[in-house]
Symmetry: C2
Subunit: 311 residues, 2 copies
């Protein structure tokens, strides 16, 4: 059965029951717009577009994986502001011949990723297209705290990361060569596991700046350096390269440290904290903020370039 067989309203009838509405969803899907609680009188909001063939591949990712990852990358952006995610709005365009199991699995993936943080899918839009297009908007609540932006890092701060680094890039490298193992790396690429709770926790600990690592650690900390007008210094000796990563990198003729420094899509959180703050074990201190500009890796500039969507 395809989405064309079901029709728009038949498809909605299949999707709505898969999307439980939590307490922050004051009015869920089915009207002109949703209504979401914003207890703190402010709402954090971020959006992403994901295109089949560019942001995901149907031969790599199941519909469930796409739902998980699309939700994760936006929920992580909310967490990176120090906020708790509350709701997603989702646009989905797909060919009429798409099996009904695609949007169903996709909705299940959205639901399960939202479930990790207590958020709900409160609304969306369906359309016909030649290839699958997904748009996601995530909303969140700051619980009375100021947002943690990229611009507050100051000399003397420590730099720390929570979450995995390099796993998604390793998985991408493995998949690109046609392999499906090591499974841990492949799964990390298909379904990132952002450390959501570390975002609001970092804000409560007094984080001075924060970002999610989506384009690569050096590139994303480069945005922090630029916005804060400081230099970010990273020491690579602190990074743990797992045996799995070093073996996979060796087999592929690649450098696992490059996956850690330049690979994106793990959606780790990188933050700066005042010196002397006692950080919980989820955080790994990887460097410090100094006067200057840009990012120094073991004291040198790093030939990275970052990711430019148009180049």
């Amino acid at each position: 059965m395809t989405v064309s067989d079901a029709g728009e309203f038949g498809l909605l009838a299949r999707i709505f029951p898969r999307l439980p509405q939590g307490p922050v969803s004051l009015l869920g899907p089915g009207d002109d717009a949703a209504v979401v609680a914003a207890p703190d009188r402010r709402v954090v909001a971020t959006t992403d577009l994901l295109l089949e063939g560019r942001h995901f591949r149907q031969d790599w990712s199941t519909p469930y994986d796409v739902g998980r990852k699309a939700a994760a990358q936006n929920l992580a952006d909310v967490a990176a502001m120090g906020a708790v995610p509350t709701a997603l709005l989702v646009g989905l365009a797909c060919p009429p011949t798409t099996p009904l199991t695609w949007p169903e699995g996709f909705a299940d993936g959205l639901r399960d990723e939202c479930g990790l943080v207590g958020a709900s899918v409160v609304g969306g839009d369906l359309s016909k297209s030649d290839a699958i297009v997904v748009s996601i908007t995530a909303l969140g609540d700051l619980s009375g705290r100021p947002p943690v932006t990229r611009s507050g890092a100051g000399p003397g701060d420590v730099v720390a990361v929570a979450g995995r680094l390099g796993w998604s890039a390793g998985g991408y490298a493995v998949l690109s060569r046609g392999f499906r193992t090591p499974r841990a790396l492949v799964e990390a690429h298909l379904r990132p596991e952002p450390p959501y709770a570390c975002g609001p926790a970092a804000a409560a600990l007094g984080a001075t700046a924060m970002c999610d690592v989506s384009d690569g650690l050096v590139a994303d900390l480069g945005h922090v350096a630029k916005a804060s007008r400081v230099c970010v210094e990273i020491d690579t000796k602190v990074f743990e390269i797992t045996r799995q990563m070093s073996d996979a990198a060796l087999a592929l003729g690649q450098d696992p440290l490059r996956w850690v420094l330049a690979g994106g899509e793990d959606h780790a959180l990188a933050a700066t904290f005042p010196a002397g703050v006692e950080l919980p074990p989820e955080w790994l201190v990887i460097g410090r903020i100094t006067r200057g500009e840009g990012v120094l890796v073991d004291g040198e500039t790093y030939a990275n370039g970052g990711f430019d969507h148009f180049r």
Copy 2:
């Protein structure tokens, strides 16, 4: 100069200055997420996907038109809940060869439509694609009032519309035959003019149900009838068919009343009010709510079918 020549960050540097931030934008574009004021502790949210070739054509619409219309259709959804729009988030994917003037004109269109209601474009996402894809999410504030849903209409209520009906469908019919006049109809299709202020005003007047007319009057009132478990009765004699519409319809061999009843995309507002309410002149009473189901046009069912995105 193309978007590829400018690169992602060059493009952003051109777009950000075009998007002034109003007082509700507490943190605008450039961080992991935006922060928007939600004074009423709730936020209204809605999203749409627009695909080149399906929702707009580059030979019909300028980039500025696409920006205006993409913003309008989402801002109208917010108004249809009785809320005041506050912010937009915008995803844009385009081919690397796209002239830089495209996203610039598009951003100008977003800005000008937002300007009509005091909203700001607070964030977004850029990506590469084969054809242009636009996603828009609009947020809004209910100013302490309950949202006006589709489900509150009751027998005895009057049905009224604010805004134009049939103009966009007329413009589409004209453009489809390769004509560019009458200009008023063509422009109505390319740049709808939703009666934004009538949304919150209707809520203040005690509207029992409301929706925006995006799929066609009969189809959209059908959603109200279903959600409210009532019958919506429409009298067509009250509709004004302008000379321009009747002349254009005659020339094209079409029925202008069908444009009014089945044409969408004017983003008029349709609402139900308790009998006896005194409506301002923006509202045209077109019928009443009775016990029963579905929509009756001059006492008969209307062969309309509505718009199904997958059929």
